[in-house]
């Protein structure tokens, strides 16, 4: 699972959960998979993500260079910034055998197995 995917998922399907975001990421094991750097694509993607959540996710997995704490104003023209964003969003892979994400409101855990987050909930939870 790439951190872009983590940046988008919520636990809002659980009954009474208001926001369900961000999911707390608990995964110690990551893999770095080099992928093509596409500045045009990144400039379109960055407005859709929550930068603070990404920074926290990067810090939580550790083992990699921290991101600038705030979104650069000129990010679409800032090659260095875009490269860092690319690395964080699309090259860090949560590849753990077992890891999890946690609903910030209920503490409900969503396991990540072989890189696949399991967001399924039971009938009595929705």
């Amino acid at each position: 699972m790439k951190l872009f995917t983590h940046n988008m998922l919520t636990s809002k399907m659980i009954r009474n959960v208001q926001v369900g975001y961000p999911l707390k990421l608990c995964a110690s094991e990551v893999k770095i998979t080099p992928t093509d750097f596409r500045p045009g694509f990144l400039s379109k993607v960055i407005p859709k993500i929550d930068w603070t959540v990404l920074v926290e996710a990067v810090n939580s997995v550790g083992n990699t260079e921290p991101l600038p704490p705030a979104l650069a104003e000129d990010y679409d023209k800032n090659d260095d910034f875009l490269r860092k964003a690319h690395h964080a969003l699309f090259e860090i892979e949560i590849e753990v055998i077992t890891g999890e994400m946690e609903c910030p409101e209920t503490g409900r855990k969503f396991p990540i197995q072989n890189g696949v987050p399991n967001m399924l909930v039971n009938e009595d939870e929705v």
């Binding site: 998979t33 890189g115 696949v116």
Partner: protein, 223 residues
């Protein structure tokens, strides 16, 4: 990529071991998938792509082959995801861009976007899917998948999807409504003879051909 080349790559994908009736799991053949990817190719390059109900992942893999930047497959059945991951492992080595699969329900009980996916709203450049055909106990599921897809795709983004030809008039009527009702325009790119091998007990014939439309929809900007 050339059509033949796409089809030959995609023909290496494994399909469902035991298709599940309740989920209407019909495999997307390499023949059909290759033609869908080939038609969508120019919009897939450098795009964020969603495969809604990704099954064994053949359309997700095809999207990567066509140069997509990010591909996310949403699928409720973890057995299918396991096959899909196996297919990705066969096709790509570690240094390539694999698909992100998320084991999640596509909630079609309401017209709103599935709550777990809410933040993905208008996020994708392209949705490519082979939704349930909406038969048996799943009446209307095909149309509801389309509605989810419309939420997920950005304005002016593209949806490529398969629907039974018997629903063509229904879809045309929906699209004739004022654009704000459904929010897409669309046309049938091809009619496909979809060969369903006998994979369920209730199938009496050895295999059945059904007529399926390959639709291309485009989301309209808000007026």
């Amino acid at each position: 990529m050339k059509l033949k080349e796409l089809e030959s790559w995609l023909s290496q994908c494994d399909q469902f071991d035991k298709p599940k009736v309740v989920l209407e799991q019909y495999a997307t053949s390499a023949h059909v998938a290759a033609r869908m990817i080939y038609s969508a190719q120019e919009n897939l390059t450098d795009a964020a792509v969603c495969d809604l109900g990704s099954g064994c992942g053949i359309l997700s893999i095809g999207s990567i082959l066509a140069g997509a930047a990010y591909v996310c497959g949403f699928e409720v059945d973890e057995d299918a995801i396991e096959i899909a991951i196996g297919n990705c492992d066969e096709m790509f080595d570690d240094s390539e861009n694999p698909v992100n699969f998320v084991n999640t329900e596509i909630d079609i009980r309401s017209d709103a976007l599935s709550p777990a996916l809410e933040r993905f709203s208008s996020c994708f450049d392209v949705i490519i899917m082979n939704p349930p055909f909406g038969t048996k106990n799943n009446a209307g599921a095909d149309y509801k998948f389309l509605k989810q897809a419309i939420h997920l795709v950005r304005p002016e983004g593209h949806i490529y999807s398969l629907h039974k030809s018997s629903t063509r008039e229904f879809f045309k009527k929906k699209m004739a409504l004022p654009i704000e009702k459904l929010g897409v325009t669309g046309n049938v790119l091809a009619q496909i003879r979809y060969d369903l091998p006998k994979c369920y007990k209730f199938h009496k014939e050895k295999s059945v051909d059904i007529a399926v439309d390959f639709w291309h929809f485009q989301k309209q900007s808000k007026p």
